[in-house]
């Protein structure tokens, strides 16, 4: 790890001001990706601005038809939250499946979606539910927010403060865990929302994406059978020592069918 200074701001506004004034400073929420990367000397920062402990970012509330989760809410908080469990049980399940207990106590939803790891779980939930990402400057629709491999719509120094999830009629999330890391080798979130069926896939390719053919088929008939033989463009899927492109495509299909079964209860 290279040397850096640790900064603990008292508010989001203070954090944003500090980041604006220090171009080499980095925002840290749970630090579950950033810290290991820094330990390996693959990342460097002049300052770490730690917003994870900020109380204003930790709340989880139901606001009418929406579930609003503060960006510094930990995975453990989300998986155990009665509010989440009542509104979107599939999201609580998603949080429960991230990493291990240590990671779930530290890692946060805001950190996860700001990092946008192509195999992370939360991007599937946020995109699959058609959520809105709230920052200290603006609101960004999930469809615009995720822009591929570790890339988002966030600007320089822009801080995610919350994620606003419209509560769906029903939803399901099933992932195939990577044998070494537990990240999604393929994870599929299926939601029946007020604005139609949404299917989001994580882990298979360069970033979370919506599977349009599956959405159309499930809109007609919400059953695993509706997915049989559907087109799935796997050309952008990753291929590595753990899984081939074809195998990832197969996992997408199987996880999608299992997510539909879960949605159906």
């Amino acid at each position: 790890m290279y040397e850096f200074e640790y900064v603990r701001p008292k508010s989001v506004a203070e954090a944003a001001g500090f980041l604006a004034a220090n171009s080499d400073a980095r925002l840290m929420s749970g630090g579950m990706t950033l810290l290991p990367t820094m330990k390996q000397r693959l990342a460097q920062a002049s300052h770490l601005v730690h917003v994870g402990p900020l109380g204003e970012l930790k709340s989880i509330t139901r606001e009418g038809d929406a579930l609003v989760i503060g960006s510094a809410a930990t995975h453990d908080q989300v998986q155990g939250s009665e509010v989440v469990g009542a509104a979107i049980p599939a999201l609580a399940k998603l949080a429960r499946g991230i990493g291990d207990p240590q990671v779930r106590y530290m890692g946060t939803i805001g950190g996860s979606i700001a990092n946008n790891d192509p195999a992370a779980d939360y991007p599937a939930g946020v995109l699959g539910l058609g959520a809105t990402v709230v920052t200290h400057l603006r609101q960004i629709a999930a469809d615009d927010y995720f822009q591929g491999l570790f890339t988002t719509a966030l600007g320089e120094g822009e801080i995610v403060t919350a994620v606003r999830f419209p509560v769906p009629r029903r939803a399901g999330y099933v992932k195939f865990a990577h044998p070494a890391t537990g990240y999604a080798m393929s994870g599929v979130f299926v939601a029946e929302t007020g604005s139609g069926v949404r299917v989001a896939v994580t882990g298979a390719g360069n970033g979370v994406f919506r599977w349009a053919e599956a959405e159309a088929a499930l809109a007609k008939s919400m059953s695993p059978k509706a997915l049989d033989g559907l087109a799935l463009d796997a050309s952008h899927f990753s291929e590595d020592i753990h899984a081939t492109r074809e195998y990832r495509a197969q996992l997408c299909r199987v996880m999608a069918a299992r997510a539909v079964n879960e949605l159906l209860g």
């Binding site: 790890m1 040397e3 390996q40 000397r41 195939f176 044998p179 070494a180 890391t181 020592i241 753990h242 899984a243 081939t244 074809e246 195998y247 197969q250 996992l251 199987v254």
Partner: protein, 768 residues
Amino acid sequence: MPDHAHTPHAPFQRKEDRRLVTGHGLYTSDRTFAGELHAVFLRSDRAHAEIVSIRTDAAKAMPGVHGVLTAADSTAAGMVKVMCMLALKGTDGEPPRVPARSAFADGRVRFVGETVAMVVADSVAAGLDALEAIEVEYRDLPHVIDGGRALDAGAPLIHDTAPGNLCWVGEAGDRAAVDAAMAAAATVVELSVESTRVIPSPMELRCCAATYDAANDHYHLYSVTQGVNALRLQVAFAAGIPESKLTIHAQDVGGSFGNRSPHYPEHCAVMLAAKTLGRPVRWAGTRSECLASDYHGRSNQIAGKLAIDKDGRFTAIQLDWVADMGAFITPAGIASHTRNPVVLLSGVYRIPAMHGRWRAVFTNTSPIAPYRGAGRPDVNYMIERLVDEAAAKLGMDPADLRRRNAIGLDQFPYKTPTGTTYEATDVPGSLEKAVLLADWKGFPARRAAAKARGMLRGIGMATFIENTGAGVFPKDQVDIEVDANGMVHAYSVAHAQGQGHETTFTQVIADAMGIDTANVLLHEGAPDHVLIGNHTGGSRSLVGAGSVCKLAGLKLVEVAKSAAAAMFDTEPSQIDYAAGTLTDRVSGKSTTLAELARRPEGLKTQAEATIGSTFPTGCHIAEVEIDPLTGTTEIVSYVAVDDCGHAVDHTIVEGQVHGGVLQGVGQVFCEKAIYDEETGQLMTGSFMDYTMPRAGMLKHIVIDENCIPSKINSLGAKGVGESGCTGSISAMSNAMANALRPLGVPPMDMPFTSSRVWHAIAAAGGLK
């Protein structure tokens, strides 16, 4: 049973556990040294390259840096040797080609992770900063990372002293007899397998520290180890110093699996730095550093042929074996993958004709050292997969084929055609026990039920025999003494890394002396006790040092009787001993061990014995269920019936079998070291890519014993430390083959990852 039956104990917590799980262990990195400096290593980031130049000036000038060492230093210091324990001439008349290896790559790097330079600094951080300032200019050379391809004509040459990349070639058995038997056979089964390259990953990362006593020209090396004697012998050899100039210190060691036994370049490097700089120097590897540079295990490509007559009896076996040694030799690397398979070429079967050829080769990969089983799981994997393929080809029940060919209890001692004499064991009995425990007969119904659920179910059996306990040193010694409080202290140079010696060895002594185990303490690797004895490895410790503990306990009682007799002015034969108290039968006077120990001469003795190999055996049965949609496998049942001779502590035996079986699960289902063919880079360089087995992968295991005590040691014990691994790799792979065979999937190799299994099913046309 041996003459001394042990006092039965209820399973109890291991004696060392309280200390270890409450953070009171003393591991190498727990030690601190006044004035210590920290070492970090620059390692090769390429598979094969000439070192054109190394510039260290900038690094040396960095703040907090005390020194930067390279091959210029280590070669000048004569730290250039590698110990090789195999001296046997091969069939080409040549002993093993053992290339020199300086503590730092000298002129050429030969694998990713090889030590190139070392920075010694006030802190690890300062050292890492300086590492980035070292400039190395390389000229890339073509590389080869596959053992088989290394033998190809025109393959890149790794060592000028090893033409054709051949390290050693040997043959065993009677080729003509095998050829004749093959020609006459009713059935011949052929199969090529690979016992995959895996990376033993003990929980404690590799680390060491050194101090140098200039006044006495003496080194003190603190290190993870499997035994201080073996390490001292090897490191002194590698460093070019007499053994008397080196003391090894170690207390607790967190896992080994074989790769904490050999000497490493880092040992010499920290010693050299400590001497050069006149300060203690310590190093602790990171996980990624260890994955790349710890010696790897297995990596054997084996082609096998089994001949069977019309009655289903094995008539001949032949193996052609390529043992990938990596870029350099390790002390026991060649022997474990060539000699152990020769010893066990017969498996548990009567096979009249046998022949094998072994070629050890160099590749641009991390060197290979013995890994839990050391060639025995590999040869067993080959034989047992051949047997199952034969059963399938003959349409026979694999259990019946084994019943027909296994050596029966009445046929021991059994001498194999390659000259091994197996000691008595009851494999057919273990098989019958295992078959009942696994409900072998009920399998077809379970398979049908699984099929109805859309799942593929398979069952696989493996029988095995191992030669365990072969030592490097001629005998094992144990010191034993009683202190003034009556505590019995035993000293041994076997070294536990998780085996529970403090539990078993003290129990052995307590049993021998009729005292409570709470009154016995074990000290291993105590530097003040210069004992002859072997390290912990090859499932040896209980057989060797453990059985000598019994002798030591019995001998100490005799010594105490003599002392008591002198005290009471009588003959030792007149003294009764019971539970630490000695009584003169005539006068009725009595004394205690503690009282005798308080005499000026104290109460102590030393015991020793020379102990050869024991032959544990077993029959393991695995049952698996594969989800054909994802290729994932669940191990639904596992049965292990072992002959471990006399078991001192059943809890420890179970722990060894559990651990061994799960380590086999790792190799069978997930672990594999992968080097990229094109770049020679290690693709599994962290736990993000190198998949370790998880406890949950084996939810249920049934263990039973079918023990015939060994006759070669006073306890009747046979080694059990590696049996789990040897049995499970074969049993689980056979279960996988059994599950996939009905689909027409050709025999596939480890690792049975979900991706590979799904592709194999898809290639065979999917579910039928």
